[in-house]
Assembly symmetry: C2
Homo-oligomer: 342 residues x 2
């Protein structure tokens, strides 16, 4: 039988001790870590970058098909992704969790295993946070801190007319993974049939265990590149690119034929009668980097297998458009994952 | 009729825009604020201090008697209190909120009014955060960032034998405020009788609108004082002092007769047949500063009306004790507000 330790047997401080007993310090800038009122970070001569996000059970994740370890990993990664999206390097994180008495100490330890795995992979320190009861469900709030050489950060507002629009990796996979898992959950609920994931480990992995594009930021540094604007794709390419356009006061043209797809994912989309392009534009949660580069930088990225040039920046008055494979021109609309709209 | 705008009419980004339209930047170190993947902070030559906390409806606050504006104010203040407790100065905050569709845009604006009032009072910048749906209730997660001159921070672990144990302000008021409000809520629920707060604005204010002790940190600087250890009192004097003792590997003696009480609060405690000393030891949420000072610093604090010397530090082997007014010696136990125990 699996062990189940009630959280009440440890109390809050006992629980924090148990969850942080193996916490390691990797960053020289971490002066004071978990266990005091606040952490202390020493970043002489660098700029600090900080971002925070909340994940709520039933809204952002479904524990019927999300292993807690993956959830811990993903909670960290989606916040690190925001730091990379500033062209910065994450260094520390803080995590608050709230949970009902449905969760055991072992369940929280599993969650933290994922947190620590992400800390290890991305070389960041967990330096603070807080645990709390909730009346219902699991609530996670992560704050990520990073550093960047003075004024080397990249905002959303710097895109200029004629810049290339680029994206890392492949698009739409996480949304397809979600669609598959939701379908199997529905079938299981209605018929009791065991989930059939059809060997779709790629798309399921894209949803449950995304990675942040550390490698792309490192490539920028090596190649001497600095994007004019950048953000990570969490709500879907369309919604996120429209943010860049709005904040940069520019328009854009995207080419459907240039969109990067994973072959398996594309096949699976067709099987579900979904348009891969729609998945890429509106799906969200891919955590790829969307950025703009000056035309002069074309030579530096044209051969990168991890970067696709998918369009270019226009004047604001020209609006934002997608050119389809058939040559048709459609206005882009924000249809990202908007939690407040149904 | 009061205006009620459904959040769905604005969408997430419209909502964030509306809530942050009057957001001001006060700190020179704030380079990039709300509206990008992350904020950028420039703290050359200072150390960064960072802390985070989560507040959940039904666990940490009760909206039947907590005005949303006060809640916004308090959410910020309790986090700033952690920064002051490191002997640091808060400079920026980030806020995540999650809320069910029971909340209107106006309700969230009221919450943010309190947030901005605290930002104004404590001269900090709101630089980021995220809004999200929740299935149930209101969830708040605040991260506070501060700065401190290199190695001038104060940890919990620095108390030394013979140090003076000091506390700012008055103790037990917030707990009495909570007791009163909970009593009136119960009476209202059972009988429909309107709340009678008996002109107890002091204790109600201590609970609903606490302040962080910025003035004490400023006094330390002016007086050339640096505590050997410090934390803020959120769980109750007893529980929090035992943290300092544990982390400093020391014991302590407290004198009941030295505890600072507000006269009205003390009278009200007697009226409720509560022991003011128990309220101070176990009540929590006073957000006063608890700190230790070397004996040499006695002259500098003995005349401060805002600082009480309530005991001294002993060797760890002597344990932790309270000497009552009658001269009896009781071991101190942690009976703070432990959300995980009932």
């Amino acid at each position: 039988m699996e062990e189940r330790t009630e959280i009440s047997t440890l109390g809050e401080f006992g629980l924090i001790e148990r969850l942080t007993v193996n916490n390691e310090t990797r960053q020289a800038s971490t002066v004071v870590s978990v266990g005091d009122d606040a952490a202390v970070i020493d970043l002489f001569g660098r700029q600090t970058v900080v971002s925070t996000d909340m994940l709520i059970e039933g809204i952002h994740f479904d524990l019927t098909y999300t292993p807690l370890k993956h959830l811990g990993y993903k909670s960290v990664v989606v916040n690190l992704s925001d730091i990379y999206a500033m062209n910065a390097t994450p260094t520390q994180i803080l995590i608050n969790i709230g949970f009902s008495n449905r969760f055991s100490v072992e369940a929280l330890e599993e969650f933290y295993e994922g947190v620590y795995a992400a800390c290890e992979k991305y070389q960041v320190d967990l330096v603070g946070g807080d645990t709390s009861s909730s009346n219902k469900g699991f609530i996670i709030s992560v704050t990520a801190i990073g550093e960047v050489a003075p004024d080397n950060f990249v905002k959303r507002s710097g895109a200029r007319v004629n810049d290339l629009i680029c994206v890392s990796g492949e698009l739409g996979g996480a949304f397809l993974g979600l669609t598959l898992l939701e379908r199997e959950k529905r079938i299981f609920t209605e018929t009791g049939a065991q989930p059939d994931l059809e060997n779709q480990s790629y798309i399921v992995g894209r949803l449950l265990k995304p990675e942040a594009r550390k490698d792309i930021i490192e490539f920028f540094e090596t190649a001497g590149l600095k994007p004019s604007s950048m953000m990570d794709i969490s709500d879907g390419l369309s919604s996120d690119l429209l943010h860049i356009c709005k904040q940069s006061q520019v328009g854009c043209v995207l080419y459907e034929e240039k969109f990067p797809f994973n072959e398996e994912a594309r096949e699976f989309a067709y099987k579900l009668k979904l348009d891969p392009t729609a998945c890429a534009l509106s799906g969200g949660e891919d955590y790829e980097l969307l950025f703009t580069l000056g035309q002069d930088d074309y030579e530096k990225v044209k051969n990168s297998p991890d970067i696709s040039i998918i369009g270019y920046v226009t004047g604001q008055e020209e609006g934002s458009h997608l050119i389809t494979r058939g040559g048709n021109r459609h206005p882009l609309t924000a249809q990202g994952w908007n939690h407040h709209k149904k």
